[in-house]
Symmetry: C2
Subunit: 473 residues, 2 copies
């Protein structure tokens, strides 16, 4: 055991024995150096280990603190989606939630925009600004169809974190993860085909299924272990399913990460039935545990996994930069990429590639993981105290999204409508179902933790639920 590991271990024991409670200030670096006779680097590395383990957090200019931890709340129940392939509806609700037609100053607890106001993103903006002024004006050129070599190289390198051996020449940069999912779906299906998804499922993926004249087979999904392999197997035996689309790591909206053994099982099942796996990994790098969980793609032996991701949740969505590692479907994906957008924004690619190369991405991730994990704990504790009894709450393993399930009579579409007098909005659960299930569920983000505005919004919401469903409770 190395010196910093020994030090980290001794601090870990003291935290777990309750010597440092959640929120307590940990000894400063200087104190550790003096008391343990170690170097500054060793003390720093020990705290880094504890941070990765989710035991301490650093606060700028204040030092290290033992994390406030919370236990798993009562989790949402496994959903009961329609047990046959169906068409996707709910576009009007999605459009309404996106606010595309009536942009306004609403404060949406339902959106999935990350926090990009922190200091660790500032260097990216600086690089962007510099790239815009480079004398060869490369940012203005058509980028290669598959993306700049600089960014593909960096994305391939980041693949190591998720256990994936990615070849820069195989990767294709896309306009966000949405384009990656869209191209992947088109590559592995024909109109009329059936695609299996975890349920609840990201509405963007489902709307892409709809747009391609596909039907969706929603698979019951556990809030801790993910899509039911058993239910998927039954569905595969019964229906002509061509692909399964899943978000197995830091799922949206449920927040779970499928255990690795289940990821392997899913892959084996896909191999047995010879179907493709479209793996949405967009929140994967925001897993609280580090090194982060491996992607299904990491175990792929015959190129049937199309790994889709982006920088929209880890850095910023305005970049519109995603990517796809398309496995054996590369020919189809590159044609789809060409016909849908021809190329991706060159300048953003150059800026992000440089940001990653200079270590900025990993610095930013470290900060955001800690922030989001802290926010999760605060939020779950708060909701358990202030929300109606019987509410079930997901326990995300990464990212910044919560899924809430209320008593069956609570109607979140109606709640959202009643909120229209306020500046607050939520994302009702029906968006995440092809057929409008999950009416008693909603997705909340905890990007900003319990700041004043969020707390006010949540209190408004809790009061509204109490008022409307008091007799039901």
């Amino acid at each position: 055991m190395k010196l910093y590991e020994e030090l980290a271990e001794s601090l870990r024991q003291r935290i777990e024995q309750g010597f440092y409670a959640g929120g307590d200030r940990m000894p400063s670096i200087r104190t550790l150096v003096r008391e343990h006779g170690v170097s500054v680097t060793t003390a720093q590395e020990a705290y880094r280990q504890l941070e990765d383990a989710g035991l301490v957090e650093s606060r700028p200019k204040s030092g290290y603190f033992a994390r406030v931890r919370c236990s798993t709340p009562e989790l949402p129940r496994v959903g009961r989606p329609v047990r046959r392939p169906i068409e996707v509806s709910k576009w009007e609700d999605v459009l309404n939630m996106l606010g595309a037609e009536t942009p306004s100053k609403v404060f949406s607890l339902g959106h999935a925009m990350p926090d990009f106001t922190g200091p660790t993103l500032k260097p990216l903006l600086k690089l962007w600004s510099m790239q815009a002024r480079r004398s060869d004006m490369r940012g203005l050129e058509y980028d290669s169809l598959k993306g700049t070599e600089e960014l593909r190289t960096q994305v391939a390198r980041l693949g190591n974190h998720s256990g994936c051996q990615l070849d820069p020449d195989e990767l294709i940069i896309t306009t966000g993860c949405q384009e990656a999912l869209f191209c992947a779906l088109r590559a592995v299906t024909q109109p009329g085909d059936v695609v299996a998804v975890d349920s609840p499922c990201f509405y963007g993926a489902m709307q892409a299924i709809k747009a391609n004249d596909l039907r969706v087979m929603e698979i019951p999904t556990h809030a801790e272990t993910g899509l039911s392999i058993e239910a998927l197997e039954l569905a595969l035996e019964q229906w002509p399913i061509k692909a399964v689309l899943v978000t197995p790591t830091c799922n949206n909206p449920l927040g779970y990460t499928m255990p690795e053994s289940r990821k392997r099982d899913l892959l084996l099942l896909a191999q047995r039935f010879d179907i493709a796996i479209i793996e949405d990994d967009i929140y994967g790098d925001l897993a609280y545990a580090w090194p982060r969980p491996r992607a299904i793609k990491a175990f792929d032996t015959d190129g049937r996994v199309l790994l889709c991701s982006s920088f929209s949740k880890t850095l910023a969505p305005g970049l519109r930069l995603g990517w796809i590692a398309p496995g054996r479907y590369r020919t189809e994906v590159i044609h789809n990429k060409f016909v849908s957008t021809a190329a991706s924004s060159t300048l953003s690619q150059l800026a992000v590639a440089q940001f990653i190369a200079e270590g900025g991405y990993e610095r930013h991730l470290r900060k955001m993981r800690a922030q989001y994990q802290r926010n999760r704990d605060l939020m779950v504790n708060w909701l358990e105290q202030h929300f109606p009894a019987g509410v079930r709450i997901s326990f995300p393993q990464g990212g910044y999204l919560l899924w809430l399930e209320f008593a069956s009579e609570v109607d979140c579409v109606e709640l959202n409508r009643e909120l229209s007098d306020t500046q607050f909005r939520i994302a009702p659960g029906v968006l995440f179902s092809a057929s409008g299930k999950y009416r008693n569920c909603m997705r909340l983000n905890f990007v900003n933790g319990l700041d004043r505005q969020t707390e006010e919004a949540l209190l408004t919401l809790a009061a509204l639920i109490d008022q409307r469903y008091a007799k039901a409770g």
Copy 2:
């Protein structure tokens, strides 16, 4: 007649009487002021009128010169595409031309990248750089699904140039014109449908037709007046065509602008057969004549025209910014936009909107129109002198692309292959046909005029044709 119009008229007469020959220096502003007793503003406005009329050009720091003009060359013949709906092939050739898989330092006379090295684009880069550093970091946000209000407002304003009354709220910003065309096609067709196109036709549009499982009906097209209305009418009587996709202004690759009367005829025909018109206007703002020709959309009374365009040819393709005015198909287009890329790059939108608002776009257009028109004349003259007898050359009315038709035995795919030892490449005509016609044709750009490298490339090409087809000549 205003004073500057009188002055412009007298200068125009002297040019047309041969008093100033092509390339001659025109009187300086100071001379005009002294000799005609007018103000500096009047003299400047007179030259501005003559510039718009294509009679003089300004050269930075040198003053005004009478333009070298050339007469219409022998134009390419009307093509003879397959006379029934067919599937689109040639993707391998397109991929090869794009150089997506083998990026290298080739000098391509075939590509369609504009010149973005001039001083009039510098302010855009500066604005981009500034927007990247704005303190609210708005460039990082998810943009509204339909695009930023700033850019939609400016695009609507620019619509006046093409005679279109565009409503900012109806416009949708896209990731380049390719996404606009892709969304438009998907909005007006179902898999299996037939789409009519001008022939030769931009390969990106045809590959989008292919990707959506549509068949294409290529309509014979005249190098001066565009798609044959008569042939389209026959096709509409015979086949279940759902839409016609055309580039009627500064066509790619033929360069013609359909006369306004024929644009109206096309619209009437579309009304009669109740089909949609997808109008690609991507080169429209580069028309040499100013005010620019009106778009078909300008005459649209029932929302059947989907106007698609972008800044890729007028400013720079790396921006990935296009737009669509979808008429009555807005609901379908906005769904397609959402599922394919969710949003467009926010920062580029903000920078371009500001650039337009500050007058930078129109300044840049003025310069580029003059540059490309000058290049066209130089290029056509040069090709008539140096290229094999019998070559037919298009006479573009805008943009920077030429179409060359050689004797029938000349094989441009083979020529391109033989060029593989050099650093030069062309775009063979087969890319612009669904079935591989136009083998004896090629597209050349004249973005850089007759600079050293272009002239070297063209001489290499001419020598190769002479050497290989001498006996044929």
